[in-house]
Each structure stands twice: as structure tokens, then as C-alpha cells.
Amino acid sequence: MAHYKPSGLPESNPTRAEGLLADLHLDLPLLTGLILLCGFGLLVLYSASGQDMAVMERQLIRLGVAFAVMVAVAQVPPATLRRWAPWLFTAGILMLIAVLVAGQVGKGAQRWLNLGLFRFQPSELVKLAVPMMIAWFLAEKSLPPRWNRLVIAGVMILVPVLLIARQPDLGTSLLVASAGIFVLFLAGLSWRFIGGMILTAIPVSWVLWEWGMRDYQRNRVLTFLNPERDPLGTGYHIIQSKIAIGSGGIYGKGWLNGTQSYLEFLPEGTTDFIFAVLSEEFGFIGILLLLALYLVIVLRGLYIAAQAQDTFSRLLGGAVTMVFFVYLFVNTGMVSGILPVVGVPLPLVSYGGTSLVTIMAGFGILMSIHTHRKLLPT
């Protein structure tokens, strides 16, 4: 897609690159951050998988597909994305319902929709469709949104979140909810409203706890909040992953030298608990490096959002970036034992993960936002 370049006007944006990257609508700082992060991730995965080349091969293919999707999405101008938003959202909701209905027939596979040639997880589409929809909806009128529009936006978030929670997939519904809420936050949701929500949540959860739950459900919540209560179940993973992290020390035990993962104390070492393997082998230094890479990506994402020229792009770009941070924080918090156990992968590092493509599509959106800006006269 050739972009508009007025003659006679001076180049007003110094960050605007030229050449191949510009033609492909890619953003160099973001792209660099992503490639470095994925490279680091592959290094860790090689160790965590027990040097399994088959695992590496599969992960490389997935990354290739995910990057291709990112490049493809980057070609779509934000205005087009905006036009698509309500349609994508509607399609997403319909597919979530289809999954629940069809899922009851085919036991145990309620997240997937079988489209014959390939299987598709509608909740992944919804992760992007929800912030797009809310951003589209709020950008129609001037910001900050009035309360009646807030209520409608709230319903738009709640419906897919509940549908996904029914599957049941707690991790994904949390991510979808946060995506929607971040759009509201960035759109200028008043602080008084945010404070009010927090204040009402406390008595509501107390009532739910006292009267809305059975004993076994309460037990589950307690174990969820404090996994160490259940040393045979999830608590076991957390205890083991804390040992892995702590024993790594400042410099780590060295690449391929982690003992926790090799003795199979970490049952999900390549997927949700890969952060523990990294911490054990690369130590505190390795963690700082990893977090620095994530921080570069997140800050670049927020910068791109702030530079965007229309409300829709700003809200969407900002929310996509913040969700990426939520992935990181929820996963590392879980693995290091300060957050409850929710099945969220370490983004771009964990093995497999259907979310890889969605995350990269999100970055494709950010790149599109940044590279499709119109040049304003100074």
C-alpha cells in the first residue's frame, strides 16, 4: 500500500523511517524489542524442554506464523480496523456462543471451534475484538464518556467475559476483561467512578463469600489465593517454582544447568512456569534483562498510542499494550508466588500457546497505527 506523501511539505516526523521497513509498515524499535525477546525465549525453551529439537522446531514455526500475521495486520490502516470493529465483535460473540453449544456435544473441548481444515479458538479473536469494539464505541462521542455510554460499554465487556468464563477459561476471561477496562480507563473514566467500583466490590464479595458459596467452592477460593494450602495440588508447583527462582541467585546456575526443571520438579516447565526455569538458570541478572526487554516494548507501545492521531487508535493501541503487560505481570506474579494461579503464559516466551498469534496481531495493530499517520502541517 503506497502511502500519501505530499510534495513540497517538509518531513514533519523525524521518527518516520524510510526504506523496506517503512514500505512494510513496520516500526523498528518495536520490531527489535520483539525479536530480541523471542530470541531470549527460544534460548530458555531449549533448556526447559530438555534440549528437545522437535519442540524447538514447532515453536519456530509458530513464531514464524505469528510474525507473518503481525506483518499482515500492520498493512491494514486503522480506519479500516475501526470499520471492522463492530463486525469482528459480533462474529466473536456468535462464535463464543457456538463454542458453548457445540462444546457440550464434544466433551472436554469447549474452547475450540472446528472449522474442518483447522481448529480455531474464538476467545483469541475476542481478546482483540473487545478493545476494538469499546474503542470504536467510545470514539463516536467526545471523551470522557458519559455514564450511560459507560453502562453500555460495561455490558459489551461483560457478555464475552462471562461467555469465556463459562468454558471455563479464567485466564482468558481475565485478559478480555482487562482489555475492555483499559480502554475505559484510557478514555478518561473518572477517578471517582473507579474508587466507587472498588468500594462496592468489597461488600459484594463479602456477601458472595458468606451466602453465595458452598464449602468446597470456598476451599477452592482459599487455595486459589494461597496455593501453599494445598501442597499436593497447585501449591506444589508454586513451592517448587519459588525454590527454582530463589536458588538461581544473582547470576543463575548457568544455561542448561537448572536442577529443578531437570529433576522434573516443575511439571509445566516449558509452558506457564518457564519463568522459573529462566530465573534458575540466568539469575537476577537474567530477570532484569528480560523485564527490560518487556519494558522497552511496553513503553514503545504506549508512546505509539500517545502519538496516534485519532481517538480510536489511541484507545486501542494503549489497551493492547497494557494487556501485554498484564500477561507479563500475572504470569511472573503467579510463578513467583505473589499472585493466584491463573493459567496465563509468559508472552512470547512460553512454549506453544494459541495466544502467540493474537499477541503478535496486537503488535501489528500498533505498527499500523504508527505507520499510517497522516502528515500534519507544522
Partner: protein, 614 residues
């Protein structure tokens, strides 16, 4: 306009920037907290965790409890745990599954069914759990694999206890079966008390008494070497085995009951009227529950599931049939107690009944009619016209009121999972569920146990037992006593009374019993075939329509396909003057209650009353 938009644009842009900066600050703050937490783990507590990591050759393993056993009332084992060896694969630890399966197949025979079961279980279970590829290995197979074990990482032989039901189909519907815990069950069980347990009750008693049978999980700390193999046990807290159940069931009687069905299908329930003990409970055809324990192959499952005879269906507690004429003693009692009829008053039966101002003829099964009949004849010869008239005089609401205390239309509360409650129709019920008025004709057919009326064989047996005991309705029970861990003797479960039916007059009850004796003893009794010199039987035959014939058509058994034929029913208790057993039998598409169902009931009562007095 442009001005306003531009102003808005700038304002929104500023607002967004403020929010983005706030977001950045929050993100930085959270990252800082995370880094501080990690620094605490990795720098401050480093020494502590290093020690743990070095000592981390200690693993905690669950010790699953052994499941309680199930015995019949005479101590015959009905469910036990047999030690077996199975070959299991942990998918997470196997690199090339296809290769592994192929090579394993060269050592140990693996059938297509084994493969299918493995694949199905694999998609239902977590990757780090081991899944059986072959069960019940022979000693030779165990040895052959043990020699080659080093070639198959992630594959191992597991010695474990396998649930076994020695009587197979004889007790299948009562006991139910255990099967591997599936993902849906994982959502509702307490995960830690089931860690190490692979099986859970899926049906019948195994499900109803799951908590009692399961026991409590134990723990052991084991030291492992660098390859993860256990070197020694450091500390252990033994599991508490599950409690043993002693049933009220008499397995010999159960077998007799099944055999007396011959080729026929149906259900039979025998209850001790004094205690509510279920002595026998048959649903025919049965199935082999052992097939389900290690995961049934889909071919076997489909064969069971799609069979027209529905072997998986527990007819005794879930089969809902019209009671047919077996309802007549209960309605007759209602007629006497409510004063609508007296025992001696006669009524003329011309072979049909008509409602005033209606042309429709409600036919008697005997086309020529029974002539003048009283309540004794009406029950002994099963006169329909007498009952059309009685039902019409009582009215539907009154009928329902007198039938409900016998437990019709509600679950008996038996301690077996899956019971259904039948249906006792009433004006109120029809309005609520169908939003339709009640028609007078419907009262008539309710009076002979047809129409909307539905009962389960267990309900019929329980109602018969209630009649036999003079109105004391006990909750039918299958578990007589439970022996918990550590107790030397089983402890009896209490007998629980559901209802004591208020009696207007002793003589009304006696009349009904006398009429039921006439069924088997009278010259024209419909079940005179089973009359015998050892004891007297109070019974009632019945026929339940499967297929409705038109007004002027004749029901000709020989011309109907077997599955369209009527169900044959029989209820009875004996000895009539001091009842020790109450029975309900239904033979699907059997035709006549007197000739098909009554002999089965007789066989059950013979075995119970004559065998153990000898």
C-alpha cells in the same frame, strides 16, 4: 464547527496523554514491586532456597486409599479390588509417541481397542498423568517389559488395584461402576483428597456412596535420585481405606429373579415390608460393568448404547411405565376409605362404560362383560368397568389424594443414584405442566392405571410393601450396614419411615388383601396359575398399553410386532397373612400379567420363602 472539533481533539489528546502517563507510572510501580519481590527470593533468601534446592530430592507423593468393598446380605462379595499390573504411558515424558506405541506392540500385544481407549483417555487427562495402554498384564508380559524398560522412557508398569465386579451383569444396575475421573468430575471433587486416586463412582451405589467408599488419602515423603526414581521412603502417613458396604440384597435371590425372566426383558423389585430392605432388584438385560473400569472401548460402548434392548438403562428405578391394573387395589382402598363404595355393593359390568351424554365407549378387557361384580370380583377378575365407575365417582383430585401417600408420583428416596419419580396425574399437574384443563375421560383411564399415570417398578414394589404392612411406608434401602475403617463390625443403617397412612377402618384394608388373595386363589382369579399349597399370595395382575388401538379395532397379540405388545405387570406380597416379601414385576412387551409376570414373582417368592425355611 471546525473550531469545536479541534478543541475537542486537543482536549482528548491531552486527556489521553495524562492517562497514558498514569498507566506508565502504575506499570513502573508494579514492575518495581515485582523486582523487589524477586530480589528478595534471589538475593536475600538465596541461601535458604539453595539449601532447599540441594535437598530437593525429597518429593511428596499421595498414597491413594483402597476403595471399600461391597457385600450382599449373606457376605458374598459383590465389588472387590484385584491386584493387577498395567502398562502406563506418561505422554509428557514420551518424545515420539507413535514410535513408542509401535515398539511396545512388538513386546506386548496391544489391540486396536487398547489404542482407541488410550487415545480417548489421553484427550481427557492432564499430560503429566500416566494413562494405561494395556491392562491386566500377565506375569510373562510384565517380565518381558521389565527387561526392556530402559528403551522406553515415560513408560512404566503400574501395580495397582482394579475394581472388579464378580457377579457381572447380575448386580450391574445396582452397584453401578467406577471409571477414570474425567475433566468434568475434576471440577467438582476436592482435588487434594483425590490426588493419586484415578477412579470414581460413576453410577448406582458406587456413585451414591462415593464419599463413604473412597476413604482418605495418605502422604509419603520419598527421596529420589537424579533420575527421579525413588530411593527410599522418609516418612509416611498411611491412607484410610474406604468403608465397606453390606447390602440388603440377596445375591442368590437376585440370580433366581434374573433367570426366571428367561428370554424376556423387564424389571423386578423385591422388598421386605418390615424394613424396606431391597432383597432383589433386577433390570434386564444387564451388562458387564467390568468393561467400564479401565475405560470401555467405543465399539463396546456403542453396542451397549445403541442396542434396542437398552441394557444400560436401569429399568427398576428409571423405567417409567403405566401401572395398568396393578393400581386397582390402591384405588379400591381409596374408594372404600372415602366411602364412595362399600365392600359388598355390586355393580353391573356390561363390557363397556359410557360417560353421561358421551357416545365414546370405554371398553372392558373382557368384551362380554363381567356381569354383577363387587370389589372382590373387580380385583380378582380385574374388571375395568367397575373401576371406570369408581374413578368417575371419586374424581381425579380425590384419586390423587388417596394414591399419593403410597409414594406414587415421587421418588422413593432409595440410596442408588439416578432414580426417577414417575407421574401421578392430577388437575393441578395438568394445568401446571401442559396448561390444559382436565377432561372427565382422563379420570376414567387413570382409574385403570393408564393415561398419564407412570410408575417405576421400585415405586410399585414400595407401594405394595406399604399395602402389605398396613400403611407403614418405609424408605427402600439397599445398604444395610456400613463398616468404617477400624471398626470390627458393620454398623446398621437406620430404617426410616416415610409415612404412616391414616386408616379409616381396619376392615377396608382386610377386604383389599382378601381381594388380592382371590387373584391367585379364586377360580376366576387372573393369576390362579401361581396358586400353591405352601403359602398364600396376595397379588394383582396388570397390563400396560404400549400402543393405542382404535375404538372399533381389536387388540390381537399375534398380529402385533413384539415391541408394540403390551407390558405385563404383577405385584404381590406373601405370605398373605404375615407378609415377609413384596414384589413388583414388569415384563416388557410380555402380554398378560397373569401368565408371564406372575410366575416370575412366584419364583422370587418361592426362593425367598421356601429355600431358607428348609
Amino acid at each position: 464547527m471546525y473550531q469545536a472539533t479541534l478543541k475537542d481533539y486537543l482536549r482528548e489528546s491531552r486527556l489521553f496523554r495524562a492517562r497514558a502517563i498514569t498507566a506508565t507510572l502504575i506499570i513502573l510501580l508494579l514492575l518495581l514491586l515485582l523486582i523487589l519481590h524477586l530480589a528478595k527470593l534471589q538475593i536475600i533468601d538465596h541461601a535458604h532456597f539453595t539449601t532447599l534446592s540441594r535437598d530437593n530430592r525429597v518429593k511428596v507423593e499421595p498414597l491413594p486409599p483402597t476403595r471399600g468393598l461391597i457385600y450382599d446380605r449373606n457376605g458374598v462379595v459383590l465389588a472387590q479390588n484385584l491386584p493387577t499390573h498395567s502398562l502406563e504411558i506418561t505422554p509428557e515424558r514420551v518424545k515420539d509417541l507413535d514410535w513408542t506405541l509401535q515398539e511396545l506392540g512388538k513386546l506386548i500385544s496391544i489391540s486396536d481397542n487398547d489404542r482407541k481407549r488410550f487415545n480417548r483417555l489421553k484427550s481427557h487427562q492432564r499430560r503429566f498423568e500416566s494413562i494405561p495402554i494395556r491392562v491386566q498384564l500377565s506375569d510373562e508380559e510384565v517380565a518381558r517389559f521389565a527387561v526392556n524398560r530402559h528403551l522406553f522412557p515415560g513408560v512404566d508398569i503400574q501395580a495397582k488395584l482394579l475394581r472388579d465386579y464378580p457377579l457381572k451383569d447380575v448386580t450391574a444396575h445396582i452397584l453401578g461402576y467406577v471409571g477414570r475421573i474425567n475433566k468434568r468430575e475434576l471440577q467438582t471433587i476436592d482435588n487434594s483428597s483425590y490426588s493419586g486416586t484415578t477412579h470414581i463412582g460413576k453410577n448406582g451405589i458406587e456413585k451414591y456412596y462415593e464419599e463413604t467408599l473412597h476413604g482418605k488419602v495418605g502422604l509419603q515423603q520419598v527421596e529420589i535420585n537424579a533420575l527421579g526414581r525413588v530411593i527410599r521412603i522418609l516418612e509416611s502417613k498411611p491412607p484410610e481405606p474406604g468403608a465397606d458396604l453390606h447390602l440388603t440384597l440377596d445375591s442368590a435371590l437376585q440370580r433366581v429373579a434374573i433367570e426366571s425372566f428367561g428370554e424376556e426383558n423387564g424389571a423386578a423389585v423385591a422388598i421386605d415390608p418390615q424394613t424396606g430392605d431391597i432383597l432383589a432388584m433386577v433390570s434386564k438385560p444387564g451388562f458387564d460393568p467390568n468393561l467400564f473400569v479401565e475405560g470401555i472401548s467405543s465399539a463396546d460402548y456403542n453396542a451397549l448404547q445403541n442396542s434396542e434392548e437398552k441394557p444400560l438403562f436401569n429399568r427398576a428405578i428409571r423405567g417409567q411405565y403405566p401401572p395398568g391394573s396393578t393400581i386397582k387395589p390402591f384405588i379400591g382402598l381409596g374408594g372404600l376409605e372415602s366411602g364412595v363404595i362399600t365392600a359388598t355393593r355390586k355393580n353391573y359390568c356390561p363390557g363397556f362404560f359410557q360417560l353421561p351424554n358421551h357416545s365414546h365407549k370405554y371398553r372392558d378387557w373382557k368384551k362380554a362383560g363381567h356381569g354383577a361384580v363387587d370389589i372382590y370380583d373387580a380385583i380378582a377378575q380385574s374388571c375395568d368397568v367397575y373401576y371406570y365407575d369408581l374413578a368417575q365417582q371419586m374424581g381425579i383430585d380425590n384419586l390423587a389424594e388417596y394414591l399419593a401417600p403410597f409414594g406414587f408420583g415421587e421418588k422413593t428416596g432409595v440410596d442408588i443414584t439416578g432414580e426417577l419419580g414417575g407421574l401421578l396425574p392430577s388437575r393441578e399437574w395438568k394445568r401446571r405442566s401442559k396448561n390444559q384443563p382436565w377432561y372427565p375421560g382422563e379420570t376414567l383411564i387413570t382409574g385403570i392405571g393408564q393415561g398419564y399415570f407412570l410408575t417405576t417398578p421400585l415405586q410399585l414394589a414400595s407401594a405394595t410393601a406399604t399395602l402389605a404392612s398396613g400403611g407403614s411406608r418405609l424408605r427402600p434401602r439397599i445398604v444395610k450396614s456400613i463398616r468404617r475403617n477400624g471398626e470390627p463390625d458393620p454398623r446398621d443403617q437406620p430404617v426410616s419411615q416415610q409415612q404412616q397412612i391414616a386408616r379409616q377402618s381396619e376392615s377396608h384394608w382386610d377386604s383389599i388383601v382378601e381381594a388380592m388373595i382371590q387373584v391367585t386363589e379364586g377360580v376366576r382369579g387372573t393369576a390362579r396359575l401361581i396358586r400353591n399349597e405352601h403359602y398364600r399370595i396376595a397379588g394383582k395382575t396388570g397390563t400396560a398399553q404400549v400402543f393405542t388401538i382404535k375404538q372399533e379395532e381389536k387388540y390381537e397379540e399375534e398380529k402385533l410386532e413384539k415391541k408394540m405388545r403390551d407390558h405385563a405387570l404383577f405385584i404381590a406380597f406373601a405370605p398373605a397373612d404375615a407378609p415377609r416379601i413384596a414384589v413388583a414385576v414388569i415384563v416388557e412387551n410380555g402380554g398378560h400379567g397373569g401368565s408371564v409376570a406372575a410366575p416370575i414373582a412366584k419364583a422370587i417368592m418361592d426362593r425367598y420363602l421356601l429355600q431358607d425355611t428348609r
